[in-house]
Symmetry: C2
Subunit: 307 residues, 2 copies
């Protein structure tokens, strides 16, 4: 019979599962790959049902459950909900249902902001659904009840990123590296100023990017907020959390492991998914598997935890 | 006018404030000093009113508030409530009242356990007050709703540590290093087995030491739990949290800073406090300042945050 140690060693070789409503969560995968270069990652983008922002909590919770179930069947060792709306709606449910640990993107970003702020005045931007859920305010104030949180929905930032992504360019050109040329556009700058100036006037010293699309706008957001305001990327903080969780569990991939990056999507146009995805991940998103909504809906329940 | 950066540099030179109902919280100071050797620490032990465990939440909250107010007047840059009962009762209130960040010992231990567990079955031991507050169960399940928590009050462990501390010995002999000789006693082993065997039978793989006294019993507890169960010391985890919080705020002491360790206590017998304290800290607790309860009670409110 294998020992607990051997079982853990076997589990360490499995991929990390990451999912989002579309390609935005690839900012999280990118940070995980940068920090943990030996880890395999299985990424699922629910592009057909994107965006999750305007949907009801119950609906997003059901989607999170379906995709988690699908990824658990691919034998992932850890699940990351790389989407703020899905974290707010479904994290707790998914944690209860499955036997693998599940991390969301809200707590790591909230925690980093609590550690970073000196004035204890923190700003949060995100989609309407994320901001209205109040999940960041709660997570921040659970850690430090003395912090004042100023949160603001900035939905047009998602459109801006998507417009930027759809521009015709070499898909492997790194979109992060060239955002300066893209986001210098006056129309984008004006939108950003309208969103961010009120937050600046609240004298925050820390701003959380509460949407997985937003790290792609860091140059634009930083230029408006100025050098004295720390920008917290929940993508980066979540990758740190993945790293310390796997390290503590003794489940990091071996240093000689050959990482495999795999992709699945509900998008009809998997080529478009691969093109956009490659620009965010800054490496090829090769040959994504198409998964239909029917498959996701049918798949529910088989490997779920009895509870 | 000084800039925000300069203000932060000045603040970095201030001590970290740490307090507990007695000398137990010195296990936390010890870990902070080990991890951050350039930091000055001002430790307050409320020995006269020790233990906090059997007191009401409202009373412990008031004590936490008084001592925090006293330490804030000593211009500490960060406060650590190095006592599980006082964290459960007073953390939120103290965070709201003062302008410095305040860390408790519960969240860091809970978080480490969530990261470490593979079976997602976690045990917690602590005083009756801490266990009955449910604070660990809540903190753990807030991070991972799929974890099953088994908690058990083990109050006699505190007595065992205090008996051990009161044995006549060279105060600077490190009590941690010689616990094996002390805790090999059959009576102590029997108590520990009675407490811990039921938790072992719950098939936990991680055990949180939810009392600042308990790290002094690690050899005994580990010998009973066996090598497959990870022991989480909230003292160690809190020190890690202090380190990352100060680093993120840019408030770590300069590498050439000469650390000063100061001590204050409500104990009438400050020599006894120094003797016990030195054994836990493994360095001299020299000349503790005596602070009367009247001083603590009078001092309230002057530097508190307007809110």
């Amino acid at each position: 019979m294998e020992t607990a140690f051997e079982r853990n060693q076997l589990r360490a070789q499995r991929p990390i599962g990451v999912f989002d409503s579309g390609v935005g969560g690839l900012t999280v995968s990118r940070q995980i790959a940068a920090r943990l270069p030996h880890e395999s990652i299985y990424y699922f983008g629910d592009t057909l049902r994107c965006p999750y922002g305007p949907r009801s909590l119950a609906e997003v919770k059901a989607f999170a459950r379906q995709i988690s179930s699908w990824l658990v069947k691919q034998e992932v060792k850890l699940l990351v909900i790389a989407c703020n709306s899905a974290t707010a709606a479904g994290l707790e449910t998914v944690q209860r249902l499955f036997d693998v640990p599940v991390l969301g993107v809200i707590e790591p970003g909230a925690r980093a902001a609590v550690q970073a702020t000196v004035s204890r005045r923190v700003g949060v931007i995100g989609t309407i659904a994320t901001i209205e859920s109040g999940a960041y305010t709660k997570a921040i104030r659970d850690l430090d009840a003395g912090i004042t949180v100023f949160s603001s929905a900035t939905p047009r930032f998602v459109e801006m990123v998507e417009q930027g992504l759809r521009l015709d360019r070499n898909p492997l050109e790194d979109i992060m590296a060239q955002t300066s040329s893209l986001y210098i556009r006056p129309a984008f700058q004006e939108i950003a100023r309208d969103y961010l100036n009120p937050l600046k006037r609240c004298n925050i010293d820390t701003l959380v990017l509460g949407c997985t699309h937003y790290p792609l706008l860091t140059p634009l957001i930083s230029s408006i907020m100025g050098p004295d305001i720390q920008i917290i990327s929940s993508a980066e903080e979540t990758a740190l959390e993945v790293a310390s969780t796997l390290a503590r569990k003794g489940q990091l991939a071996a240093p000689d492991a050959q990482p495999v990056l795999r992709f699945a999507t509900t998008a009809e146009d998997t080529e478009e998914f691969a093109r956009l995805g490659s620009a965010i991940l800054a490496r090829p998103v090769g040959d994504p598997l198409h998964v239909s909504i029917a498959e996701l809906e049918q798949g529910l329940g088989k490997k779920e935890r009895a509870c």
